[in-house]
């Protein structure tokens, strides 16, 4: 089955210069902006974006139109903050969109800002995206020169300034409220909600935070209509999504498909299957924070609600990681916990302390020093980070990083409990126990 390309059309058709203003204009760029500015903000919000069923592509999957509608009436100024701080392990779609189609993003930003009546927008771009930053810088300058940004855009009377802001290496700045803290010049520590950003966000003003892929989709919805977009996909998962497929596959890459497309089409079809003709051990369907799935789930549809409610996982950021039959699941879990422990901002005790202990225990388990009780030990204290150990997350922390730490461990318990128990027993037997006193220790 081929891809269904909407937001990736230009960058795939014109890989040589898709990021330039000339290519953008030659392929119909900024035509939709003219059309949008002739509409009313309400019409864009309700008849187009809400009707499209578009849900946030950053990970949480919240309705975009609905998010916009939470802005309190008649409170100004309002801000739009664009989340280009892509950092969820194995997600690389926003990186591609920023580098290879920056004008599409800018057009989406202008239309969205017009729809929510905001006059100052920010793009928070991940610090490591040096080329992306460079291309966005240039694209923004070009957009100003040609009147797509600035005062009285295309003679409509609408003004918008766009500030490009660079991060400096921090995963949690990609959390909605962590991003706002970082943009204010603080450590990127998430904030407790409520108040939600729509009410008190950046500089305590009403703020919308949207993901790059989400906003890059908006021009296409205006162009072809909310109803058209809603006709794609399945159930409440409308439209297309870019899935980043990586790991042990023949052709790791970004693939844009209609939501609902089975995992098998993505992994075995587009990505060419497990490398070297091997079997699959497991796959992670939606970034490091999502619980793992197994080969028996390959024919399940990529329907956000189905994956969450029935498979107890999530599509998250759309990053599919594939692991072949020779992969050690404990090693993967340990590396993910090393990531979470490194990126925990330290604000909430259960996450700051818990992630570090989980990493230490998984290190010993994956390096031959584990104990038979280790898995249950992690589940026991992990229950203090994610009460009930279930997705959708219950949490004792401010942001979702805390509960995410338990996704790999819940997955180990769900799919590999017996295998791990046998291995821990064998490891424990294999180790030589030297009595402390005999070794000259003790006190």
């Amino acid at each position: 089955m081929p891809e269904t390309r909407i937001v990736t059309t230009r960058l795939r058709d014109h890989p040589e210069d898709s990021w330039t203003i000339d290519r953008y204009l030659a392929t119909g760029g900024y035509d939709v902006l003219r059309k949008a500015l002739a509409m009313t903000p309400e019409a864009i919000q309700d008849e187009q974006v809400k009707a499209s069923g578009l849900r946030g592509r950053g990970g949480a999957g919240f309705g975009t139109g609905q998010k916009w509608s939470f802005l309190p009436k008649d409170v100004y100024p309002r801000y739009l903050a664009v989340n280009a701080d892509e950092g969820e392990p194995s997600t690389f779609k926003d990186h591609m969109l920023v580098e290879r189609d920056p004008h599409q993003l800018i057009e989406g930003i202008v239309i969205s800002a017009f729809a929510v009546e905001c006059h100052l927008a920010f793009v928070y771009v991940r610090g490591e995206f040096a080329l992306g930053y460079e291309r966005l810088t240039r694209a923004i300058a070009e957009a100003y020169e040609r009147g797509y940004l600035g005062k009285d855009i295309l003679g409509s009377g609408f003004d918008l300034d766009l500030i490009l802001h660079r991060g400096a290496g921090c995963y949690i700045a990609g959390d909605e409220t962590g991003l706002l803290s970082s943009l204010e010049g603080e450590r990127a520590m998430p904030r407790i909600k409520p108040p939600f950003p729509a009410v008190q966000g950046l500089f305590a003003k009403p703020t919308v935070v949207n993901n790059v892929e989400t906003l890059s989709t908006v021009p296409h919805i205006i162009d072809r209509g909310g109803e058209w977009y809603a006709s794609l996909g399945v159930g409440r998962s409308t439209g297309t999504r870019i899935f980043s497929v990586s790991g042990h596959v023949e052709r790791p890459a970004n693939y844009e498909v209609e939501l609902g497309t089975p995992f098998r089409e993505l992994i075995d079809g587009l990505a060419g299957g497990v490398r070297g003709g091997k079997g699959m051990k497991f796959f992670i369907p939606g970034g490091a924070s999502s619980p793992w799935l197994m080969p028996q789930h390959l024919d399940e549809p990529t329907d956000m609600d189905h994956v969450q409610n029935d498979l107890k996982s999530m599509l998250g950021s759309g990053a599919i990681m594939v692991f072949d039959e020779d992969t050690d699941p404990l090693l993967v879990a340990w590396r993910l916990l090393k990531f979470f422990a490194h990126e925990s901002c330290g604000k909430c005790t259960p996450c700051r302390e818990g992630s570090g202990w989980l990493e230490k225990i998984l290190y010993r388990m994956s390096h031959g020093l584990g104990r038979p009780e280790d898995l249950d030990l992690m589940l026991d204290f992990g229950d203090n980070i994610v009460p009930g150990l279930n997705a959708p997350f219950a949490q004792t922390t401010i942001c979702a990083l805390g509960p995410s730490t338990m996704s790999p461990i819940v997955s180990l318990d769900r799919w590999f409990r017996d295998e791990i128990a046998q291995r821990m027993e064998a490891d424990a037997r294999r180790r030589i126990h030297v009595p402390v006193a005999a070794a000259g220790g003790g006190r």
Partner: protein, 168 residues
């Protein structure tokens, strides 16, 4: 080291963009790192003065973000990803090889980095924030040597393209 006159002017221009001056903290730290090759205590004090913050506040922010180096690290920062997609494609082995190779190299600073969003290129590394992948120990070493010999033009260690002019 204090900001040069040009960079001080640029700093003031960056601050003026934001509704609240403090927002310019990260951009000014990048500016200082572009100029000096690291973020010195003096630079943090100067930034604090510009933004009407205390030096401790600036240090608190600076130390939170892994791209800022609070001691000199040489001309080239090589970051190697070892997160899961790179883990299963040889990232850790690549990291170890490069760390060993440049152990006593004052020009090249090798460090582990968390997922840098280029898993289709796994195992992937960045040299001053330019991507290279997939690479093995040998091809990575060749690339690094080309940067050292300036057959490739590196960005600053904050990832700014010097010849691109005012890109900030």
């Amino acid at each position: 080291m204090a900001f040069t006159a040009d960079n001080l002017a640029r700093a003031r221009e960056i601050v003026a963009r934001y509704p609240v001056a403090k927002s310019a903290t990260l951009p000014l730290l990048h500016l200082a790192q572009d100029q000096d090759g690291w973020v010195s205590p003096e630079a943090m004090e100067e930034i604090a003065g510009i933004l009407d913050l205390t030096p401790a506040q600036v240090l608190g922010v600076c130390s939170f973000y892994s791209m800022f180096k609070r001691e000199p690290v040489g001309q080239l920062v090589v970051t190697v990803c070892t997160n899961v997609s790179c883990l299963v494609n040889g990232g850790p082995e690549l990291l170890r090889a490069l760390e060993d190779r440049h152990l006593d190299d004052d020009d090249v600073h090798v460090e582990e980095v968390e997922c840098i969003a280029a898993c289709d290129l796994a195992p992937v590394m960045q040299v001053n924030y330019d991507y290279h992948g997939p690479v093995d120990a040998e091809s990575a070493a060749t690339i690094i040597d080309e940067y050292k010999a300036r057959r490739r033009t590196p960005r600053t260690i904050s990832g700014t393209r010097v010849d691109a002019g005012a890109t900030r």
